[in-house]
């Protein structure tokens, strides 16, 4: 068990929604990872679909790069479409 790989678990709560990261499980192979994900994360009707991905396959951004990666967006408020007035008869926005 100590050499079981780590897998990231993504759960789709219901049809039409995207899969969201729920957590991770240890498993020796893909089939076992799906079973462990099912038993750990969907036992209270949390989902209708599961993805499992080997954690080692995920490419993550380096926290040290968060300045150049994310801070430039902070003062670009014009990227939010907040300068338009929405006509009264338009719903659901």
């Amino acid at each position: 068990m100590k050499d079981w790989a780590l897998w990231e678990v993504f759960v789709r709560a219901k049809g039409g929604l995207s899969h969201r990261h729920a957590g991770s499980v240890h498993a020796a192979d893909a089939k076992m990872a799906l079973e462990h994900a099912r038993d750990a994360y969907t036992r209270r009707m949390e989902g209708v679909s599961l993805w499992v991905v080997p954690s080692a396959q995920i490419v993550a951004s380096d926290p040290a790069d968060s300045g150049p990666l994310f801070e430039p967006a902070e003062d670009k408020i014009y990227r939010h479409p907040t300068f338009y007035s929405i006509p009264d008869h338009i719903k659901h926005i």
């Binding site: 240890h26 020796a28 079973e35 462990h36």
Partner: protein, 250 residues
């Protein structure tokens, strides 16, 4: 005398109850946290089935005993589960061997019971068969991993299957009660399920690179209350609270 239908529901409920209790002994002790959750989930499914089946048994019997009374106040002689489900957990491979052999049977039995003339039993079976299909897949996957794994895992799963094999025939045994209720359209023809069970089990064993265990002299008697010594120990633990504090609730 207990009505045949009540006895039949009792058998179905006892199989699930005793195996559920056995499996729950793993809770907190399984080889990995994830496996602990898997086994506990299966155990809870089985205890849920037992609650329904024993509820029907209590209603039909009409002696004022509900599922809890039936589970917690009967003595070993009054339990009618098959002997396979009361066998000790042993190591993980032995537990998986027992689960695989039973779930492969239970899936077929519940599939057939879903068309029983008794609507209550049919409804329980229809709901439970989906759970059991998953149990069979889970256990079958482990049979393959252990059998086609390391020398040690293979040796352990071979020993586990060998321990359990003599209790296989009893699952398919049809006694007078089964035959009477089969004629009434209520019970399942368990003997007729054997070829399908053999084919499923052989397919998994072959994928696991395992040979089918040599035929053993079958051990019978569970349906008539003749149990191994293991059941008494299991009951003493399961029933302790209701025995020491009758009627206790929380």
């Amino acid at each position: 005398m207990t009505p045949p239908l009540a006895q039949y529901a009792l058998r179905l409920g006892d199989d699930s109850l005793i195996l559920g209790q056995r499996l729950s002994e793993w809770c907190g002790h399984a080889p990995a946290l994830e496996v602990d959750l898997s086994l506990a989930n299966v155990a809870l499914d089985l205890i849920g089935q037992a609650t329904y089946f024993l509820g029907v048994a209590g209603d039909v019997e009409a002696k004022g005993r509900d599922a809890d009374r039936l589970a917690f106040t009967r003595d070993a002689l009054d339990f009618s589960n098959c002997l396979l489900v009361e066998q000790p957990n042993g190591d993980f491979a032995q537990t998986i061997a027992r689960q695989f052999l039973f779930s492969a049977f239970q899936e077929l039995q519940l599939g057939a019971l879903a068309s029983s003339k008794d609507e209550r039993l049919a409804a329980i079976a229809d709901k439970a068969v989906k759970e059991v299909t998953y149990h069979k897949q889970l256990a079958g996957g482990w049979i393959v991993r252990l059998g086609d794994g390391t020398d040690e895992s293979k040796q352990r799963v071979v020993a586990g299957l060998d321990w359990m094999w003599r209790f296989v025939d009893e699952m398919f045994d049809m006694d007078a009660l089964d035959r009477k209720l089969l004629k009434d359209g209520v019970a399942v023809d368990k003997a007729a399920l054997r070829p399908a069970w053999d084919a499923r089990v052989d397919a998994v064993l072959s994928e696991a690179t395992l040979a089918r265990p040599a035929p053993r002299r079958p051990v019978l008697g569970g349906r008539a209350g003749h149990h191994s010594e293991h059941l008494g120990h299991l009951l003493s633990e399961m029933q302790f609270l209701q025995r020491a504090y009758p009627g206790a609730t929380w």
